[in-house]
């Protein structure tokens, strides 16, 4: 188990370094940052001055190492537009985004896992087909359009839920549904496939031969084995949700990291964008690690790897 842990941590670190290098290089390659910082109507001398002031005239590796050192000490630079530290900007907005992501994931799991199990219990039944249609529907519908539909039906017509802002938890219901629904189809189909396979396995027959009740057979013996691939997928989907929150937060006027990313992209506020990309990557990597650890707990065979 310790070997497994060390291996996974090393892998996560390696991915983090790679992502930081790629992110750094991509941002430098996406245009002359000095021009963007100097602003409209700046002269060549102004731009040159900016280059020197920010150190853009030095070799890339040097810039990277310096940036990395600062980043590790928590200094993500200053936003050109807001003129406040990037770390502060993100820290203010991260709780909103994380809450939205978590609620979306809970919604997605709470809908898709029971549906997947039920569909697997009676393959090709009416329920199975209904679940499949729900999945196809979710996969096919763009989340921004689904979000607008929700606003129209639940907010404008039904007047059941607030359509924007962060006043209460109720404000998060619609965004979480809009964001979570997108992840539902994949999780549901994978749960179904896993359960169908596991239910046909010999150890389920053994569990029944022991005289265990159906509930115990299903939830103790079958589900634990069936959700192993689902855990990895859910982590990936959570990552997608964080990026999907850029659109959803804008629609529902939630002041989260997604909205910040949207504003900063419009204003070419590169330091902020870079900070957000890095933060999202780190969250993503941590999630993957968490999923691996959870799977190792679920399946003892993984612990050896």
């Amino acid at each position: 188990m310790l070997g497994f842990l060390v291996k996974r941590l090393a892998l996560a670190l390696l991915v983090a370094v790679t992502v930081s290098v790629v992110g750094f290089v991509l941002l430098r390659a996406s245009g002359d940052i000095a021009v963007a910082i100097a602003g409209e109507g700046a002269t060549e001398t102004d731009i040159q001055a900016v280059r020197q002031q920010y150190g853009f005239d030095r070799p890339l590796p040097v810039q990277y190492v310096e940036w990395l050192g600062k980043t590790l000490s928590g200094d993500l630079g200053r936003s050109v537009y807001f003129n406040v530290p990037v770390a502060q900007l993100i820290a203010e907005r991260l709780p909103v985004t994380l809450l939205l992501g978590a609620l979306s994931l809970v919604f997605a799991l709470a809908l898709s896992i029971p549906l997947g199990v039920v569909a697997a219990l009676r393959p090709n039944s009416l329920l199975d087909h209904a679940a499949l249609w729900l999945a196809v529907f979710g996969q096919a519908m763009p989340s921004f359009w689904f979000a607008l539909l929700l606003i129209l039906v639940l907010g404008v017509w039904g007047r059941l839920l607030p359509i924007s802002g962060t006043g209460s938890l109720l404000n998060y219901v619609m965004p979480a549904i809009a964001l979570g629904y997108y992840a539902t189809p994949a999780i549901m189909r994978l749960t179904r496939a896993g359960m169908v396979e596991v239910l046909g396995s010999d150890y389920i027959r053994t569990a029944r031969a022991k005289g265990l009740r159906t509930g115990k057979v299903l939830f103790k013996h079958a589900l634990r084995n069936a959700v192993i691939p689902v855990v990895s997928l859910a982590a990936v989907q959570f990552g997608f949700m964080l990026s999907g929150s850029i659109v959803i937060e804008s629609i529902f006027a939630l002041p989260g990291v997604g909205q910040l990313a949207w504003i900063s992209l419009q204003r070419s506020d590169f330091t902020v964008v870079q900070g957000i990309v890095l933060m999202l990557s780190v969250i993503y990597i941590l999630l993957a690690l968490l999923a691996d650890l959870f799977n190792a707990w679920l399946d003892p065979r993984i612990r050896v790897a």
Binding site: S201, A209, K210, G211
Partner: protein
């Protein structure tokens, strides 16, 4: 084992199966996998169900346990355990019997244990779901039985997972699991087929020793006639979903009446029956399709002694005590001597 082990007339057999049928609906039609099977097993008795692959042996055992796949249809005139009718029993009531008073051991030890749970958990669970006992007692019982089935360092094994153990060990664990509640009947479906030859004999010995010691009744499903000759009280030879011949082991081996049984016996060396140097036989042809109705002797096309009467349904002729043969040649009324 002496003949005195057989139950006397009038005594309730532990397991009584009458006219058991298992049908599997397929796209091409209905597969009649088990076609009117009848047999009885008395307390402490060993019945061997013998036959080649696909003759319906495994489905028969699953049908008795109520573990058939959902699409399979089971019917019977009677299917009773210790006088209690199992047909129409609710899943809840059936689950209360399974693993408790009748247990099963499967053919595939490598895949029959749940990879996600420790050996101890899976063993203890078998007792905990039927008896009002604590974890500690269940654990003690598990250790005791693991030692009993010949597993060393039993206490340490409880914490191990299936993937850490060999096939032979896993099958010993499956046997221990079947014994957790002290069942009266064990159905063992080819329990040694998937194992190495050297391990096969050990496992079989173990099973027989435990059976004798605990007074269990055993239904042993096998295609290994050498095994049957050593262990069976009664033998039922299955072919194409039917019992073609049944009787005491001594009679079946000493005086096989059905051409299929004779063919089967000629295919394998049986201690005391096959002379050294004598070539072994084989049965030509293939098993008939059981999709749709089969209104004739299933063995007719492979039988050297086939005659016109074989094209009609052949009833099971009951001969002297406990002996039955499904062959026109065995008909005491009409057969030429």
């Amino acid at each position: 084992m002496s003949g005195g082990m057989s139950p006397g007339m009038g005594e309730t057999p532990l397991l009584a199966v009458e006219d058991l049928r298992v049908d599997l609906p397929l796209e091409q039609g209905t597969l009649h996998a088990v076609r009117g099977l009848s047999f009885e097993v008395g307390r402490g008795e060993t019945l061997c169900l013998v036959g080649e692959s696909g003759c319906g042996k495994s489905l028969t055992s699953l049908a008795v346990m109520g573990l058939l796949p959902r699409r399979a249809k089971r019917s019977a005139r009677r299917l009773s355990f210790d006088g209690q009718e199992l047909l129409g029993l609710s899943e809840r009531r059936m689950a209360a019997l399974r693993g408790n008073r009748l247990a099963m051991i499967f053919q595939e030890p490598m895949t029959s244990l749940n990879p996600a749970y420790s050996i101890g958990d899976q063993l203890e669970e078998a007792l905990l779901c039927h008896r009002r006992v604590g974890r500690r007692q269940a654990r003690e019982r598990a250790v005791h039985l693991l030692e009993r089935v010949g597993i060393t360092a039993a206490g340490r094994r409880l914490g191990q997972y299936p993937h850490q153990l060999s096939g032979g060990l896993r099958q010993r664990i499956m046997i221990a699991m079947a014994l957790m509640c002290g069942p009266e009947l064990i159905i063992a479906d080819e329990p040694t087929t998937a194992l190495d030859v050297t391990i096969q004999a050990q496992i079989l010995h173990l099973l027989l020793e435990l059976k004798r010691e605990m007074g269990l009744a055993l239904v042993l499903i096998t295609h290994d006639l050498g095994v049957v000759a050593r262990v069976a009280d009664k033998v039922a030879v299955m072919y194409a979903g039917e019992i073609v011949e049944s009787g005491s082991a001594v009679e079946i081996f000493g005086n096989p009446r059905h051409p299929y049984t004779r063919g089967l016996l000629s295919c394998v060396p049986v201690p005391g029956r096959t002379r050294p140097g004598e070539p072994l036989g084989s049965i030509p042809g293939i098993v008939p399709s059981l999709v749709g109705s089969l209104e004739e002797c299933g063995f007719r096309e492979r039988c050297a002694l086939a005659q016109a009467a074989c094209r009609r349904p052949v009833p099971l002729h009951r001969l002297e005590a406990g002996r039955a043969v499904r062959c026109v040649l065995a008909d005491p009324a009409g057969a030429p001597a």
